[in-house]
């Protein structure tokens, strides 16, 4: 047994991550509007970059819809391509 391994009486309960769900499936949102900036801001980080699926929890189909909505918003000057402290 490794010398420095500490034995605990009860196993350490490591915090189970909150089950991520795809908000589009759950709330039945079918279309991601590129004009709705507040909604899109949930899917980009402080630098204005797109959040990956493992963080945003979206399914592939809706992540792609979010992706091209964000790109359209960036093209039309509503979302910055790169910034800091966006939120």
């Amino acid at each position: 047994m490794a010398k420095n391994e500490i034995k605990y009486l009860t196993a350490i309960k490591q915090e189970k991550p909150k089950k991520k769900f795809c908000r589009f499936k759950k709330y039945g949102i079918k279309y991601v509007d590129y004009k709705d900036i507040e909604f899109l801001k949930k899917f980009i980080n402080e630098q204005g970059k797109l959040l990956p699926r493992r963080l945003s929890g979206n399914s592939l189909k809706y992540q792609r819809k979010v992706q091209d909505a964000v790109k359209k918003a960036r093209q039309m000057g509503m979302l910055p391509y790169v910034t800091d402290l966006l939120k």
Binding site: R23, K30, Y31, D33, K72, Q75, M76, G77, M78, P80
Partner: protein, 117 residues
């Protein structure tokens, strides 16, 4: 007859009646080319997230219209020629988008179903 959505950014130096005249011009152009405008929604002066053509603000205008598919090419030529327009984008609306725009226009979207957890 597909559904399209046109978003245009005019130069901020545009006066109010020029802005209206430009809106009318393009609405008539669409009607003349066999399309039909569903809903025009001028946002007015808004600040841009990054400077476009050295300007930090622009006058936004969103127009939802229906039309045959070859209308967009003609529109694009006109808009590229027009120097009042800084940037334009025509997007095709699928049936969910049309339904979304319709519901949003009639105030159907209560805020809570969108800003969920």
């Amino acid at each position: 007859m597909n559904n399209y959505e046109l978003m245009v950014i005019f130069t901020p130096v545009l006066s109010e009646e020029d802005f209206k005249a430009a809106q009318k011009k393009y609405a008539d152009l669409i009607a003349e080319l066999g399309g039909a405008t569903v809903h025009s929604n001028p946002w007015g002066l808004k600040s841009l997230a990054y400077p476009i053509q050295k300007k930090t603000t622009g006058i936004y205008w969103v127009l939802e219209f229906q039309g045959p598919s070859e209308i967009n090419e003609k529109l694009k030529i006109q808009m590229l020629r027009d120097e009042q327009i800084m940037r334009h984008m025509i997007t095709r609306l699928d049936k969910y988008a049309v339904e979304y725009n319709y519901v949003k226009r009639n105030g159907g979207f209560a805020m809570q179903d969108k800003t969920e957890a």
